[in-house]
Structures are given as structure tokens and as C-alpha cells.
């Protein structure tokens, strides 16, 4: 019963994610409107065949903006997560394998940085390099990779202490081969569960900074920025509702998937 409930939940979440991602990828097919085309005659148009979700305060088609905006939001969040996961896992595995002073430095660094307010780093970088999504991504990368490194380091040390590793060594495998063929596959599921939850965090950060006007710059659409556009027109809830609900669905789905994966892994362990 429990297992079946889990499968249904996982399928629902994965379905939602696939649906939204596919819709955003197919934006040119699904909507013939230009997301940045201003049409002052059609401000705040209601739902119609031509504009399925209506238009915003500049007469831009909301569905087109939602889909193209999703490409930005999801794309940048995925990019930040992927890069920080790859760098973090690599550094963490090497650090866990080598141990010694470098390893201690990494752990100390992550201890100190673990709770540092991200906004300070973003402000430093944005003030020096200027506002823009690329610079926000750099700032996010700087703090996020260290989480993966910490996790990968601990898991690697745990794996390396297993007798199977010793057996591999006795059979003549080099350390490189052991790390790549034995340790990496073993820690991968755990890392994926961290990655899933972290993707939600990255998405919230990216849309949050765009909301503040530091990330994606207008007129390019982005979900957080669309919500910011809607703030002056609270009587027209459509502008704010759709991007918000999209963010909510994506973040809930990845959080639930990450939690499920972690639960399954923990059960397997015990």
C-alpha cells in the first residue's frame, strides 16, 4: 500500500515536471505570439482564442511570456544546479579520497560558508560586474557547489572504508578506476536526491533575484520578473497567478521527488 502510494506520488511529480518542461521547450509551437511584442491596444485583454491566458499591462501575450519565461527560469536553474553538482561532486570525491590538509580546509570552508547570507555575495558580484542573470548565476555557483562537495566528501569516505574497495585494490584496480567505477556509482543516488531538492532552491533564488531586478533584465520574460510586473496591477490577478503557480508546482515536485528518493535510500540502508 505504502509502496503504491509512493509510486503514484512520484509519477504525479515527474509528470508535472515533464509537462511543464515540455511545454516550455515547445514554446514556439504552442504559442504563435512574440513574448516581447507590445500592443497598447490590447492591455489586460481577457482569455480568448488568440490569447489563451490574456495579456499583461503592455498588451503582451501572457501564455507566450509564461512559456518563454519558463525557458529562462528552468534553464538557468538547471544550469546552475548541474554545474555546481559536477564541480562539487568532483571536488568532494577528490577531497574525501586525499584527506589531509586540503580536506580539512574544505570542511572548514563549508562550515563557515554554510549559512552565509547569499544575498551579500550576489550584491558584491552584481555591484562589481553589473546586474544580469549571468552574474547572479556566478554568485549562486560560488556558494552552492560547496554543499555538494561536503556531501560527496562524506559519502566517499564512507564508501572507501568498505571491504569491497580493498578487494578491488587487491585485484589490481588503480585508485582512479575505483573512484570512477565503484565510488561514484555508489554515491550517485544520494547525490541525486540532494540535487533534486537543490534545484528547487536554485529556481527560487533565480526568480527571487529577477523579482528584485538584479537577475534577468526586461523585456526578457522570467517567472519571478513577471510576478514583479504584476505587483502594480493587483486588481488583475492573472498576471501574477500563472507564473507563481508554475514556480510552486516545479518546486513542490522536485522537493517531493528528492524526499522520496532519500526515504527509499534510507530504507534500503537499514
Amino acid at each position: 500500500m505504502r509502496k503504491r502510494g509512493r509510486k503514484v506520488t512520484a509519477a504525479c511529480c515527474a509528470g508535472c515536471l515533464t509537462f511543464l518542461a515540455a511545454a516550455c521547450l515547445l514554446a514556439p509551437v504552442l504559442s504563435s505570439c512574440d513574448p516581447n511584442l507590445v500592443n497598447p491596444l490590447k492591455k489586460f485583454a481577457g482569455m480568448s482564442r488568440e490569447h489563451p491566458l490574456g495579456t499583461d499591462y503592455l498588451g503582451r501575450d501572457l501564455l507566450a511570456r509564461l512559456l518563454w519565461g519558463g525557458r529562462n527560469t528552468l534553464g538557468y536553474a538547471a544550469a546552475v544546479t548541474a554545474v555546481s553538482a559536477v564541480i562539487g561532486t568532483g571536488v568532494g570525491m577528490i577531497s574525501g579520497f586525499l584527506g589531509g590538509a586540503a580536506d580539512r580546509l574544505l570542511m572548514r570552508g563549508s562550515d563557515v560558508l554554510r549559512a552565509f547570507p547569499g544575498v551579500v555575495l550576489v550584491l558584491i558580484i552584481v555591484s562589481i560586474l553589473g546586474a544580469g542573470i549571468g552574474n547572479v548565476c556566478i554568485a549562486l555557483l560560488l556558494t552552492r557547489w560547496i554543499w555538494y562537495a561536503r556531501m560527496a566528501r562524506n559519502l566517499t569516505r564512507e564508501e572507501l572504508s568498505r571491504p569491497s574497495i580493498l578487494a578491488g585494490r587487491l585485484a589490481g584496480s588503480g585508485w582512479g578506476a575505483i573512484l570512477i567505477h565503484h565510488v561514484f556509482p555508489a554515491i550517485l543516488p544520494q547525490m541525486l536526491s540532494v540535487l533534486s531538492v537543490d534545484f528547487g532552491g536554485a529556481l527560487l533564488s533565480i526568480s527571487g533575484y529577477s523579482f528584485l531586478g538584479l537577475g534577468i533584465l526586461p523585456p526578457e520574460p522570467e517567472w519571478g520578473m513577471m510576478i514583479s510586473d504584476g505587483r502594480s496591477y493587483m486588481d488583475k490577478p492573472g498576471m501574477m497567478f500563472w507564473p507563481g503557480i508554475c514556480i510552486l508546482i516545479v518546486v513542490i515536485s522536485v522537493n517531493v521527488l528528492g524526499d522520496l528518493l532519500r526515504d527509499i535510500l534510507e530504507e534500503k540502508r537499514t
Binding site: D111, A115, G200, I227
Partner: protein, 317 residues
């Protein structure tokens, strides 16, 4: 009581935090020295003086900009310790003065949010654990998933459109009365309430299944007495140890919430300052936030060590 291990641990954490503070201060220093248009022109602009070559040279000498960078950094640090962070380009008032005004608002917001987090997550977590598996538990768990995934900027507007615009219960924006504080602080607290409710639920369930609870019950203490007197205090341990971890997030989150509710705090000020390229203010904000973060984290570590003998002994009981 305070054995060497604990002291070493705290000392280590302290040096780490101080190193971090040093790097942040260097970054803040470099920030203003890397200005598009150098510091001398920026200064002349800020006092509305004409930009002649002689004037620039004179100001450079006066500000000590011809000295090597480490010397400049040292001089600047001395100024910072004296509380002199320069003048805001936007208003012409001392940065320290502006920051301390805004800090009061952000402090009120963050502390109220923290209060909500502690009170509400304790109530929700206890209920959820008490009715584990039931309908109440299910509803609270759905809330924790929703709450932690909700973007703060969206939640804020939803709350405003419901409570302020539709039902007209609370003010929309601003910071005039205590009523203005309710929506922003709850918005800021929401995701942490969700996190801590989940944490407390699991922690209470874990403590409840430990032998000393069974012992207390078999001695005839009522369920409620054992829960309030023994289970909850023990279950609160992970809450306090992770509170320091979320502090940075609360401070970052306040930037978004302050912008949604036009709350005149640090976060709103700094986004305005970035838009206006008001570097002295950005610099002040970065320094102030880092100092707050470091101090609060240290206090949190010390408090944890003081309240929990087990942690003090470094995990050895």
C-alpha cells in the same frame, strides 16, 4: 564543565568566521575602489564639486588614494571601526546613520518572524506528531510541503490581495503600526515554519519512542506531563542547533519580503542602492550584514554549547 575539546571547537569556528569577515571586508573595500569612475570622482560627485583635474588630484591626496592598496585598506578599516562609512550618494547623509535607522526595521521584522517560527512550528509539530498518521497530521504535512516551496514574493502578494484588499483586515504596505508587521513577518517566516514543523514532528516521534519516555509513563505520569516536561525540551535540541544555519536565509529572505511590503528596512534600502549605484551604502550593507551574521552564529554556537552538556563534551556523554 568546559573541557578543552569544546573550547577548541568553538575557537576553530570563531577563527573561521573571522577569516570570512576579513574576506568580506576586503571585497567591500575593493568594491568601492573598483568603481566605474574612481573614488575621487565619486567623492567629488557626492559633494557636487566640479570635476577639474586639480580637484581630482587634491582629493586623491586628501583621501590617501596615492598610497599602496594595503595601506589604504588599513586606513579604511580604522575608519570603519570608528563608525565612519562615508556618505550616501542618494541622500548625502552619513551611511552609519541611515543603516542604523533601517536596521531597526529589519531587526523588528526578522525577530518577529523568528518568534512566529518558534511558536507556530512548536504547535504544529506537536499536533502533527500527536496525531501521527491521522487527518490532522496529513493536513499539516501538506502545509509543510506547500510552505517550503512557496516563493516568498508570491506568497506576500497573495496575502496582501486576500487580507488587505479583499477582506480589508490588515494594511497593504508601509510600517506605521504593529499591524503592518503581521503580514511581512508571517511571509518571511512561512518557509521556516514548514521546515521546523517537519523537523519537530520527526524529532518528537523519535524522542517519544525512547526508553526514558516509556519509563516515565510506567511510573504513572500522564501522557501530557511527559510530553511537555520531557519530550518537547529534548525534541527542541535539533531546532536550536540548526537555527544558526537558517539565519543567513532569513536575512536574505528579508530583502525580498521588504521589497514586497515596502518595509523600510535594510533589504529595501540595498536594492535601491544597487539600482542607484550608491556604493557607500552597498558597502555598508555588506559589512553590517556580515557582522550580524557572524555575531549571531557565534552566539548560537555558544548557546548550544551552554544548554546542551552533551554537545559541550563534543558528543561524548
Amino acid at each position: 564543565m568546559w573541557n578543552n575539546f569544546a573550547l577548541r571547537q568553538i575557537g576553530r569556528q570563531l577563527t573561521g568566521l573571522l577569516v570570512l569577515l576579513f574576506f568580506v571586508s576586503v571585497a567591500a573595500f575593493v568594491l568601492v575602489r573598483l568603481l566605474p569612475g574612481d573614488a575621487a570622482t565619486a567623492y567629488l560627485n557626492s559633494i557636487n564639486a566640479p570635476l577639474t583635474e586639480e580637484a581630482i588630484e587634491e582629493v586623491e591626496k586628501e583621501l590617501g588614494l596615492d598610497a599602496p592598496l594595503p595601506v589604504q585598506y588599513g586606513k579604511w578599516m580604522i575608519q570603519v571601526f570608528k563608525g565612519d562609512l562615508g556618505f550616501s550618494y542618494q541622500t548625502g547623509r552619513p551611511v552609519t546613520e541611515e543603516l542604523s535607522e533601517d536596521l531597526r526595521y529589519t531587526g523588528a521584522l526578522a525577530l518577529t518572524a523568528l518568534g512566529w517560527v518558534l511558536v507556530l512550528s512548536l504547535i504544529l509539530g506537536t499536533f502533527s506528531a500527536g496525531h501521527s498518521g491521522g487527518a490532522v497530521d496529513m493536513m499539516i504535512r501538506i502545509f509543510t510541503f506547500l510552505g517550503s516551496a512557496m516563493p516568498k514574493f508570491w506568497l506576500g502578494f497573495l496575502a496582501v490581495s486576500l487580507f488587505s484588499l479583499r477582506w480589508k483586515l490588515l494594511p497593504v504596505q508601509g510600517a506605521a503600526t504593529w499591524k503592518h508587521l503581521i503580514l511581512p513577518s508571517l511571509t518571511l517566516a512561512c518557509s521556516y515554519i514548514a521546515t521546523y514543523t517537519k523537523l519537530l514532528r520527526n524529532s518528537i516521534l523519535e524522542v517519544q519512542s525512547s526508553p526514558f519516555v516509556l519509563h516515565a509513563r510506567s511510573r504513572g505520569f500522564s501522557k501530557r506531563f511527559v510530553l511537555v516536561r520531557h519530550v518537547i525540551p529534548n525534541a527542541m535540541t535539533p531546532v536550536f542547533t540548526t537555527l544558526g544555519l537558517h539565519l543567513g536565509g532569513i536575512l536574505s529572505g528579508s530583502v525580498i519580503v521588504e521589497n514586497v511590503f515596502a518595509w523600510p528596512g535594510l533589504g529595501r534600502m540595498c536594492v535601491d542602492a544597487v539600482a542607484a549605484r550608491n556604493y557607500p551604502m552597498i558597502q555598508g550593507y555588506i559589512l553590517l550584514l556580515s557582522v550580524i551574521f557572524v555575531t549571531a552564529n557565534m552566539l548560537c554556537d555558544l548557546a548550544c554549547a551552554a544548554f546542551h552538556p552533551r554537545l559541550r563534551a563534543g558528543g561524548r556523554t
